[in-house]
Symmetry: C2
Subunit: 314 residues, 2 copies
Amino acid sequence: MHEFDFIAQWMRPLTQGHADALGLADDAAVMSVPEGMELVLTKDVLHEGVHFVGDEPAGLIAQKALRTNLSDLAAMGAKPYGYLLGLGLPECVDDAWLAAFATGLAQDNATFDVHVLGGDTTRTLSKLSISVTALGLVPRGSAIRRSDARAGDRLYVSGTLGDAAMGLRVAQGQSLGVTYAHHTWLHQRYLVPQPRLALGMQLRGSAHAAMDVSDGLLQDAQHMATASGVAMRIHHAMLPLSEAARAVIALDADAWSYVVAGGDDYELLVSLPADATVPEGLIHIGDVVAGEGVVLLDACGQDITPPRKGYQHF
Amino acid sequence: MHEFDFIAQWMRPLTQGHADALGLADDAAVMSVPEGMELVLTKDVLHEGVHFVGDEPAGLIAQKALRTNLSDLAAMGAKPYGYLLGLGLPECVDDAWLAAFATGLAQDNATFDVHVLGGDTTRTLSKLSISVTALGLVPRGSAIRRSDARAGDRLYVSGTLGDAAMGLRVAQGQSLGVTYAHHTWLHQRYLVPQPRLALGMQLRGSAHAAMDVSDGLLQDAQHMATASGVAMRIHHAMLPLSEAARAVIALDADAWSYVVAGGDDYELLVSLPADATVPEGLIHIGDVVAGEGVVLLDACGQDITPPRKGYQHF
């Protein structure tokens, strides 16, 4: 399949007929931002061998690339609008792969009410790379930052932690010693993140700060604490675990490191004032206090912060 | 250098202090579009070994990645605003390379009055890739498309053609038999495109259609003709050649193929009504007529269209 056939057959339908994509026939897209709204822009590039293994079903790779970007929009409280897609395709990618990739995107376009605005596709001498720039909208002034957490706030996460980091081991062919069902569930958490979009929008106006946990809880919390000029105390006993993660940890206590420093969970970390109404789905894990730094405390209040707090991309 | 140091030392300064980048500390950027304006969005990903050789000075690679995107904005008549930058870095890239890359961008930020809004940087197992999403602004409804060329229009280009395709041979270490000065000049045309931004903005309201010539004149003209439902006649004798290209062709008549089917010149192809005032810098190369297809005609009106009309990315 040639470039222009690929665009016509697989990419143009992903514009879902939206006029602003100009049928992918022009040099660029033209978008109107409704009055009173601001545009939220994020860009994540996923690379084979770094962000995914490479042998996953193409549709799931596509969905992961889109959803990690949507997760950033969720963290800002934005409603997703659309995205631009840059594909760097290795020689070995065939028509069936391209079809499955586009089908995965079409499904997520429907799930999240987004469409392709534009993009760029090239055969390369490299491994597969997928560059997504996602656009969202928020009412002017209501985007949630990570820099306004305040002493006295409570700290929450939107779901269980460590699952995706354990799931990566499954993707790499490692056995965690748990049941097949647990393996499959953890693998799924790694493969297809669930961007917390409804929650993010619900948090506008009440959350002091939010971000998504993509590189490890303690490292990401440290970013929020530094940006906000506060300290955070996270309580080990309050961290939410899935049944599968609990089973893994029962066999290997070191697997706790996945929970506090593993990446790819794409749950939201949220700082809410103590008197705020707490939306459904948020789990209290700690507190914001004056000072600096992030500590992990055991049930006796002892500092058990591990040296490794998260993932660095280089 | 680690990811967060790289962002702090080299990327954050490229935001030029613009508030919408949120200091690159958040999950996304937040941008306001002024009332009465529309946003123009484009995304080009440059891959080592495809869009550049790889041994070019890092600052020039950076500028090429930015400028190919700005060229798309120029074609739409948009004023550049800012961009998001996705970097996939091979292991061998060192701190000096990163510094030179960022310095090249800083220079172009000043030249084109743009800034970094956000991005993503990762060490990868692949060759170098640079993904840019550029944003521009146009007054509502004034973006120039490529689909409104009309029979009776005249066809123009904004500069000499074929230089960059010849320059690529120089970059690959090939001798074209011309002087050192001509080699250097052609190489430069390949290395650093000049986006025709002022011209693009000047064409708002008068041009029926515009696009940049990035994949080869005849192929790109064919895209414009197809999108507009017209035919185009391009006159071989009217195509503008640089002194250097003229010297190359004097030694090898086959080098004409670089002019009509070579890529990377990033000049604008413009369709203007016959009675329009023609902005300085536009060179008349042909005409738009009823029908379909693009033909290259010699001085006697004979069809001399070559079989190969441009570059396909896969």
